[in-house]
Symmetry: C2
Subunit: 197 residues, 2 copies
Amino acid sequence: MARKSGSHSQITGPRIRQAALRLFARHGYAAVSMRQIAQEVGVQAGALYLYTSDKQSLLFDLMHDHLTDLLAAWDAQEKQADAVARLEQFTRFHILYHLDRPDEVFIAYMELRNLTPDNFASIERLRRRYEDALEEILRNGQAEGTLSVPDSRIATLALIAMLTGVNTWYRQGGRLSPDEVVQTYWEMVRNTVGARG
Amino acid sequence: MARKSGSHSQITGPRIRQAALRLFARHGYAAVSMRQIAQEVGVQAGALYLYTSDKQSLLFDLMHDHLTDLLAAWDAQEKQADAVARLEQFTRFHILYHLDRPDEVFIAYMELRNLTPDNFASIERLRRRYEDALEEILRNGQAEGTLSVPDSRIATLALIAMLTGVNTWYRQGGRLSPDEVVQTYWEMVRNTVGARG
DNA sequence: GTCTATATGCTGATAGAC
DNA sequence: GTCTATCAGCATATAGAC
């Protein structure tokens, strides 16, 4: 049975999500219309509703999948044994993973207030799980005596803010390569947590 | 000559700006209508245009005045002589000033993409001036030999990201007082820049 | 699977009465 | 100084033709 000409169910869905990602990151969720997304994909606005129930779930899915992928990627890493080495691993992982996905990161931070309360709570749970992965490293290091912070929870949030900040200034082809950025930040992170050596 | 009843030119202007500040911070610039702002103030939408030429300049003025006030407040500080003491002063100033103005800070970071190109350039110049104030402290400290960072520009951006991050988690009546937050962050900042002592 | 057409309502901004 | 009325356009989402 030949498919009807113009049917692309297998690729239109991903293309809609990709267009929404790009447009939401550039102009903001509230400023982007379903018509704009449809135009970017090359279909009419009505066709979008075959792939998403509404605009809100388009946003939610983007944020949810980003955080789920982030957690899975960290979980999949072969972990260093001692806390300082694992903190270096986290620093490198966080910077490189986030530099590779600027649009996803931007949306995940900027569009929280456009989520419905239920969706917001769901996203915050995922973000909390990621933060907890770092906090556990800091707690282990304190127990080992290989690092020292005044408050492990606050240090966690401070380090993540510092590391994610790379995305606000990094530009491809700039003064530093991604690897040099990692080196520079690792030196600061190591000092911040008072790591030995 | 008695004023006409319902005339409040001296207070309506500030009230419009206050309402816009609150609503933009809560829901985002693009998601807030001029009618919502008018309703919050208690006037009709048309009356807003006696005080602002359009929605864009309402946003720009909020961001511009915030950054101008921030720079003026830092310039007005009686400065510590040596770099480490001045860095502690900056840390305290930045955290407390920003904690006092969560809505202004939120807008100044989140609504950059909703500025026209000219307005964006103007705001970025002001932000850059503030960053330069911190970078100068770090450079002086390096020259004195009292602190050490791998890259003064990147350290500047890293520290500002770390310190401004307080606004994302701090809640009044929480575990720590503003003063304890300052102490905790100063300990980390001091380590980050490898300060002596 | 995609289209056109449409419903219902809101948008920023202006004109002119009071 | 504020109001009412209005313009022209765009919003999300759905119904039904093909």
